[in-house]
C-alpha cells in the first residue's frame, strides 16, 4: 500500500492516520511510542516515505516539530502516547502557541469505551491543552481521523498560525474505515471576520507616512510568517524608513542593510530604542507590542502616531493604542498600500536624512561601550564567541545557508546582538515563552528539515542540560549539528537579574555542569573546549566542516552582563548601559 493510495480502500484508523499525513506532504514525524499509540507504530513500516525520529523526551518532539516549522514555514508534526506522553508535550505546545508556530501534535488516547474512567494512562489532554493550542480535537471514530487531521493542518497553517492537537482513541486507531483523502478535504479556511483594511484607513496610513519626519518600521515575526520580507524592505528603501526588529523579526531583514537598526526592547541597542522613543510614526508590522519590546507602556514612544498592520484582530489596541489599524495579512496589506504611496511620491529629501543621521550618531556614541569593540584582553566573552561564529560563516560564504538555534538566557540576547542575520528563517529562538531546553531539539527539527544547511545550537550551560538527552537522537539520526555551549558557570540571565535587582543575591544561580566534551564523547560526538578568543574561529570552522555533529564548550567570563538592559518598569530610553569602566572588561595592567 505504502504511499500509493488506491481509491477508497478500507484501512485501519492507524493506517488512515499515516496515509493522511503522507497525503498532507509530511515526510517526518517526531515522536515516542507507548500503549495508546502503538497501533500507529505497528503500521509505521508500511509508510516508508514517512520518517519517524525517535526522541528522548516528548517535550523535545514538540520542539523538533517547532524547529522544523520555523526553518521551513511548513507544518511540523509530533506524536506521543496518552497520559505522560501527552503531558510531556505541553511545554512544547505552549512554546509554539505563543510564537504562532504551525505544528500538528498527535496523541494516543485510551479506548473510547473507557474514556472518563481514569483508565491507565488516561489524561484529559484536550482539556489541558485548551489554552495552549490554536485548536484541538478528540477523535473517537476511525471515520473521523482523515477529515479531522486535514482540518488540523489547515487550522495550524492558516491565518495566524499555531499548534493543533489531535487526540485519537486507541479503538479509533484499530477500527477499520474507508479512506478517501480527497473527500476528507476541509471546507475552505474562514479568515477571521474582523479582518479589515478599508480604503479610508489606507488613506490615513498614506497621509501619516507622507507627513512623518521621523518614521520607523517595527518588524516582527509576522513579516516572516507572511513572507513579506521583500515588501518591507522595498517600503523602507523607497521612503528611507529605518527598521527596528523584534527578537523574532531579526531575520526578517538583512542586518547589514544600512536601514536595519537591529533589535528593539529590553536588550535592544540604545540607538534602536532611542529611535523608537523619538519617532513621530511607528509602522508596526506583524508584531504584538510585547512587554519585552515596549518597556513601560505609559512612556512608550510618546510622540508617535502608530500604524498597526496585523493579522490577528485581538492584538489591535491590546497593549498599545494605535491610530490606524490595517488588519490582514501583511503581504497583502502592503501590496495594497505601496501603490497608494507611490502615486504620491514624496520629495526624496523630506524623510529624512536628518532622522537617519540622528540615529547613526547614536550608533557612534554607543560603540565605545560596545563589548564587541573591546580588544582581546585574554578573557573570553560570549559576545565575541557568537560574533566570531558569525565571522566564520560569513567568511566561508555560508551565511545564507546557516541557521542559528538558540536557547534562552544571556547567550540568546548576545546572539541577537552580535550574529548578523542575513536570510529569513535563519534564527530560531523561543521568544514569547522563553523556553530553556528549546535549542537542541529545535535544531534537530531544523536540521532534519534543511539537511543542506549549517545548523548551530547556541545554548547556555543551564538550558543545554535540560534537553541534553537529545544528543543521543542526533547520533541515532546521524545529524551533523554544531553545538556551542556557552559555559559561564551560572544560570547567567538569572544571575544578571540578581545582580541588578536583588543585590547580588546569587541564590541557586551558580550551576555545576558535567564536562560537556566528555558528555559529547560518551555519545560518540567529537568536541573541543575553547578558553581563548584565538581558538574560536578555528574550532567553529572545524565544527562546520567536519560533516558530523560537533560540540564546543566555550568557557566564558562568568559574571558578564547583557547591555543595554531595561529593567522592569522602566521606559525604553531609561536603559542600564554597560559601565564604561566595567571592572570585568578592564584591560590587564601593563606589565
Amino acid at each position: 500500500m505504502a504511499d500509493s493510495i488506491t481509491p477508497n480502500p478500507t484501512l485501519t484508523g492507524a493506517e488512515i492516520l499515516l496515509a493522511t499525513l503522507a497525503g498532507e506532504g509530511v515526510t517526518t514525524v517526531f515522536g515516542y511510542p507507548g500503549g495508546a499509540i502503538l497501533p500507529v507504530y505497528d503500521v509505521l513500516r508500511k509508510f516508508p516515505n514517512l520518517h519517524h525520529v525517535l526522541v528522548r523526551h516528548e517535550q523535545s518532539a514538540a520542539h523538533m516539530a517547532d524547529g522544523y516549522a520555523r526553518a521551513t514555514g511548513r507544518v511540523g508534526v509530533c506524536m506521543a502516547t496518552s497520559g505522560p506522553g501527552a503531558t510531556n508535550l505541553v511545554t512544547g505546545l505552549a512554546t509554539a502557541m505563543i510564537d504562532s508556530i504551525p505544528i500538528v501534535a498527535i496523541t494516543g488516547q485510551v479506548s473510547s469505551k473507557v474514556l472518563g474512567t481514569d483508565a491507565f494512562q488516561e489524561i484529559d489532554i484536550t482539556g489541558i491543552t485548551l489554552p495552549i493550542t490554536k485548536h484541538n480535537f478528540l477523535v473517537t471514530r476511525a471515520e473521523e481521523i482523515a477529515p479531522v487531521l486535514r482540518e488540523a493542518f489547515q487550522i495550524a497553517r492558516s491565518g495566524r498560525p499555531g499548534p493543533v492537537l489531535v487526540d485519537i482513541t486507541k479503538d479509533a486507531q484499530q477500527a477499520a474505515a474507508a479512506f478517501d483523502f480527497e473527500a476528507a478535504k476541509p471546507r475552505p479556511y474562514r479568515p477571521h471576520p474582523m479582518l479589515r483594511a478599508e480604503s479610508s484607513s489606507m488613506q490615513e496610513a498614506v497621509t501619516l507616512i507622507r507627513q512623518a519626519k521621523r518614521p520607523i518600521i517595527l518588524a516582527g515575526h509576522g513579516v516572516v510568517e507572511s513572507g513579506a520580507e521583500r515588501q518591507v524592505l522595498a517600503l523602507a528603501e523607497a521612503h528611507r524608513i529605518p527598521i527596528a526588529s523584534t527578537l523574532l523579526g531579526l531575520d526578517a531583514v538583512p542586518a547589514e542593510h544600512p536601514l536595519c537598526l537591529g533589535m528593539m526592547g529590553m536588550h535592544g541597542e540604545s540607538w534602536v530604542n532611542n529611535a523608537i522613543q523619538q519617532a513621530d510614526l511607528l509602522l508596526a508590522f506583524g508584531m504584538r507590542f510585547d512587554d519585552r519590546v515596549t518597556g513601560n507602556l505609559t512612556k512608550y514612544s510618546p510622540n508617535s502616531k502608530k500604524i498597526h498592520v496585523e493579522i490577528d484582530p485581538s492584538e489591535i489596541n491590546k497593549n498599545v493604542r494605535v491610530d490606524v489599524a490595517l488588519i490582514g495579512d501583511l503581504k497583502e496589506v502592503l501590496s495594497l498600500l505601496m501603490p497608494l504611496l507611490e502615486t504620491h511620491p514624496r520629495p526624496l529629501e523630506s524623510h529624512g536624512s536628518e532622522w537617519l543621521k540622528q540615529i547613526n550618531a547614536g550608533k557612534g556614541n554607543a560603540s565605545v561601550r560596545d563589548i564587541i569593540n573591546l580588544p582581546d584582553n585574554g578573557h573570553l566573552y560570549a559576545a565575541h564567541v557568537i560574533n566570531d561564529i558569525w565571522h566564520e560563516a560569513a567568511a566561508a560564504g555560508r551565511l545564507e545557508q546557516t541557521i542559528i538555534v538558540t536557547d534562552v538566557g544571556q547567550h540568546q540576547m548576545w546572539e541577537a546582538q552580535y550574529f548578523k542575520h542575513h536570510a529569513p528563517r535563519s534564527l530560531i529562538t523561543s521568544g514569547g515563552l522563553g523556553t530553556m531546553g528549546f535549542a537542541l531539539p529545535a535544531a534537530i527539527g531544523a536540521k532534519v528539515a534543511c539537511p543542506e544547511k549549517d545548523v548551530w545550537v547556541i545554548a547556555g550551560d543551564g538550558g543545554f542540560q535540560m534537553t541534553a538527552a537529545e544528543l543521543s537522537t542526533i547520533v541515532q539520526e546521524g545529524l551533523a549539528i554544531n553545538i556551542a555551549v556557552i559555559n559561564n558557570g551560572f544560570l547567567g540571565m538569572v544571575r544578571q537579574w540578581q545582580e541588578t535587582i536583588y543585590e547580588k543575591n546569587y541564590a541557586s544561580s551558580p550551576i555545576l555542569s558535567p564536562n560537556f566534551v566528555l558528555l559529547a564523547a560518551a555519545h560518540g560526538i567529537a568536541g573541543a573546549t575553547v578558553k581563548q578568543r584565538a581558538d574560536v574561529i578555528p574550532n567553529a570552522r572545524l565544527a562546520r566542516t567536519s560533516g558530523k555533529p560537533f560540540l564546543i564548550e566555550f568557557q566564558v567570563e562568568k559574571e558578564d552582563g547583557v547591555y543595554p538592559m531595561i529593567t522592569p518598569g522602566s521606559a525604553l530610553h531609561e536603559m542600564l548601559r554597560r559601565p564604561q569602566h566595567d571592572p570585568l572588561i578592564e584591560l590587564p595592567e601593563e606589565p
Binding site: 477571521h192 479589515r196 478599508e198 495594497l336
Partner: protein
C-alpha cells in the same frame, strides 16, 4: 461595565468550555451565560454578559472569533436588543406563616402586578415564574421581601438577548463577505470599526 455578546457557536462537546476558558484567560468575570439551541441545525446561540472595561468589547469579540467553533459574534446594548431573563422563585406561604392563609392571595396579587405566574402550590410554599428584565425580577424579589415573605429559593437563567429588527440578515451578509480574501472588498462603512475615541483598557495601564 457590563457587555452583552450574542454568539452563534457549533453545538459540539466542549464548546462551552472553550468560551468559558477564553474569559478566564482574559481575566474577565462572566456575569451570566445562557446557551441553547438556535434556529440553525447543530448550532447553539449563547448570550454572554460579562463585566469588563468599556473598551474591551472589540478584543473580546475578536478573541471569541478566534475560537474555531465560533460562527458569529454580535455585541448588543439595551436599546438595540430585547433582553430577557427567566426566574423561578419559591416563597414560604401557608397556614403556619405570619400572614397565615391570607399570604397566598396576597402573593397572587403581587405576582399579577409583576406579570409573574404561579407554577406550583404546595402546603407550605408557592413557586412563581417570571420573565422580564433583570430589574423587574429584582423588583418582585424586593417587594416580596419587604412584605415579610421568606424567599426559600431563587433560580435565574441570566440574560438572553436578541437584536431587534433585521439583524440576522446582516450577520449572513457578513458571513458572505468574510469568504472573500480580497481585502479591498471589505465594506468601507464598517459597523464594527474601532471607535476613534477608544483608549487603552485600564487593566494594561501601569
Amino acid at each position: 461595565m457590563l457587555h452583552t455578546f450574542i454568539a452563534l457557536v457549533q453545538d459540539r462537546p466542549g464548546v462551552l468550555t472553550r468560551v468559558a476558558s477564553l474569559f478566564r484567560r482574559l481575566n474577565i468575570n462572566i456575569v451570566s451565560l445562557t446557551v441553547g439551541e438556535s434556529e440553525r441545525a447543530e448550532t447553539s446561540r449563547m448570550t454572554i454578559v460579562c463585566d469588563a472595561h468599556e473598551n474591551a468589547a472589540d478584543r473580546i469579540r475578536a478573541s471569541l472569533y478566534k475560537l474555531e467553533t465560533t460562527i458569529s459574534v454580535d455585541e448588543v446594548n439595551r436599546t438595540d436588543a430585547v433582553v430577557r431573563e427567566l426566574c423561578l422563585i419559591k416563597v414560604a406561604a401557608g397556614p403556619s406563616h405570619p400572614h397565615g392563609l391570607h399570604s397566598r392571595s396576597q402573593i397572587f396579587e403581587l405576582s399579577q402586578v409583576f406579570r409573574a405566574r404561579v407554577v406550583d402550590l404546595a402546603p407550605e410554599s408557592i413557586m412563581l415564574e417570571m420573565t422580564g428584565s433583570a430589574s423587574k425580577i429584582e423588583g418582585l424579589l424586593q417587594v416580596l421581601r419587604e412584605s415579610g415573605y421568606t424567599i426559600l429559593e431563587v433560580s435565574r437563567t441570566g440574560r438572553m438577548a436578541m437584536r431587534r429588527g433585521h439583524h440576522t440578515s446582516r450577520v449572513l451578509e457578513a458571513l458572505g463577505t468574510r469568504q472573500s480574501l480580497d481585502l479591498q472588498e471589505f465594506p468601507t462603512q464598517d459597523p464594527d470599526a474601532l471607535p476613534s475615541d477608544e483608549i487603552l483598557p485600564g487593566a494594561f495601564e501601569e
